[in-house]
């Protein structure tokens, strides 16, 4: 198979990052919508270890000349570099700052947001599934720890301390954002950091509203992001009309506590 195809979920979380990155850099890709919350990532796109074992959990799959690739920030970097885009600073220190910001989002914000999002929106869906259908879904998953996250979400018995810890991470993210936004965008120029941060935080406004209460700069940035053409085009790919309620199991919470 030649050319580029993007198997994406609803435009929220990692799928939103990569859809918008495609539009930002003008990548010609065939857009193929799949239902990540129904486990279709394990059935529809071509399989590959790097997709199966992706730390991100249920994210989009970009297939370039037959090679399936995963992990939203790295896919955005790939798209930017393959199409001569300008979504990454060229100066090494500014680049390091972008990498560090994205790591903070990937390692701290994304696991918290996906726990809260899945708890609110995916747990009821999975509980409504019959056991046979659910076991079929989980049996297709190559990574045992990702399969375990699906089971945990279906059970829905999240410890109160873990929920509060996740809400705390969202509050911390907004606090850091509020201090960091430099002009219109997080790091001055528009970068992948804006895409990845927006992709995980947009759905948190409804779930952790207190985090955004005293954050005027963050709220104005959210509005600017929502109005950006690449985000509007990505959101227009939604099949449900409510992408911010679409969640699939994401990255795991750090095992070291």
């Amino acid at each position: 198979m030649m050319g580029t195809s993007l198997f994406h979920g609803e435009p929220n979380g990692p799928s939103l990052t990569v859809l918008a990155a495609c539009y930002e850099v003008g990548a010609e890709a065939e857009m193929i919508a799949i239902d990540l919350a129904a486990g279709e990532r394990h059935a529809v796109p071509p399989r590959r270890r790097e997709v199966e074992m992706s730390i991100e959990g249920e994210g989009p799959v970009l297939v370039v000349e037959g090679e399936p690739m995963a992990d939203s920030v790295f896919l955005a970097q790939y798209l930017d570099e393959a199409h001569g885009g300008s979504l990454q600073p060229a100066e090494p220190y500014a680049r390091w700052e972008m990498e560090m910001w994205c790591r903070f989002v990937i390692e701290r914000v994304a696991p918290a947001a996906s726990l809260l999002g899945a708890r609110a929106h995916l747990t009821p869906k999975l509980q409504a599934m019959d056991d046979v259908a659910f076991e079929q879904l989980v049996a297709a998953i190559g990574s045992a720890d990702l399969a375990e996250r699906w089971r945990t979400i279906r059970e829905g018995a999240f410890p109160e301390a873990q929920i509060e810890d996740s809400r705390g991470k969202i509050r911390l993210a907004v606090e850091r954002l509020e201090n960091r936004i430099d002009g219109d965008w997080i790091l001055g120029d528009f970068t992948i950091a804006d895409l990845e941060t927006y992709a995980w935080l947009a759905g948190m406004v409804a779930l952790v509203p207190e985090a955004f209460e005293n954050a005027p700069r963050t709220r104005a940035w959210l509005d600017r992001m929502a109005g950006r053409e690449s985000i509007r085009r990505a959101v227009a790919q939604s099949r449900t009309g409510d992408p911010l309620s679409a969640w699939a199991p994401g990255p795991e919470i750090n095992r070291w506590g």
Partner: protein, 256 residues
């Protein structure tokens, strides 16, 4: 602004070894500042003034402080002349990043949980309990505080260690599979993924002999030996001060 590089590091091993080896490969001279992790130097005021997070390594360059080993390596590759450690092809670059994240976030924490339970914990447990408790309280990051407490008091549960061992076995399988397809981990040239991987895996045949040996993982062993033969690797491992890094000697080839 100073163009000189100062690197605060522990042994050439895991996170500290990554920027040490990357700098050596690029041919960038640096002032080496050894931070004794087992003496908790990284949580003392002098070091916290450099890196308030209390994590090692940290690098000073041009009046700025850089932290996080993998991000420092990418900075080193971009900021200095010398052989490129990121490949030019965008897909190869994606594979370098994928492997580094897989190792940093999934495989290395499992390796280090095992390493901490059998090495770091016992090494520091002999100290005065009050002094230890005070040392833990000085750790700025809560997750690091939890990790040190677990290592020092041997609080890793059987289930946690079993899960780490499961991941180590899978990770070794993935490394062997990738290295049987390509000369280097991410593509057909030596990259930051190999620098990262060597720091994680150089002692593998000693620490996991039943999973990594001549029969089961010939490609991993050949890869480690080829990296060990590089002058930059020799130079970097010579900076080690403890017995631990001498494990690298198992990668010496037998005289024919």
């Amino acid at each position: 602004m100073s163009d000189e590089v100062t690197l605060f590091h522990w042994e050439p091993n895991a996170n500290s070894g990554k920027p040490m080896l990357a700098l050596a490969e690029k041919g960038v001279p640096f002032e080496s500042r050894y931070v004794d992790m087992l003496n908790f130097d990284q949580h003392k005021p002098d070091y916290l003034a450099i890196n308030p997070q209390g994590t090692i390594p940290a690098m000073l360059h041009g009046g700025r402080v850089l932290t996080e080993s993998t991000a420092i390596m990418e900075y080193v590759d971009a900021a200095f002349d010398g052989p490129a450690l990121m490949p030019p092809d965008p897909k190869d670059r994606w594979r370098v990043r994928w492997w580094m994240k897989f190792m940093d976030q999934w495989l290395a924490p499992s390796f280090s949980m095992i390493g901490w339970s059998i090495f770091v914990g016992p090494a520091v447990r002999r100290r005065d309990p009050q002094e230890l408790e005070a040392a833990i309280e000085r750790i700025p990051l809560p997750e690091r505080r939890t990790a040190w407490r677990k290592a020092i008091y041997n609080q890793f549960s059987e289930a946690e260690l079993a899960e780490s061992q499961r991941r180590v076995a899978i990770g070794i399988g993935l490394l062997e599979e990738a290295l049987s397809k390509r000369a280097w981990l991410a593509c057909d040239r030596y990259t930051l993924a190999d620098v990262n991987g060597f720091n994680l895996a150089y002692a593998l045949p000693l620490s996991q002999p039943h999973l990594s040996n001549e029969e089961k993982t010939p490609h991993i062993l050949e890869w480690l030996r080829r990296i060990y033969e590089r002058p930059a690797t020799r130079q970097t491992w010579a900076l080690g001060r403890t017995e631990m890094v001498k494990r690298v000697k198992i990668l010496e080839r037998e005289p024919q």
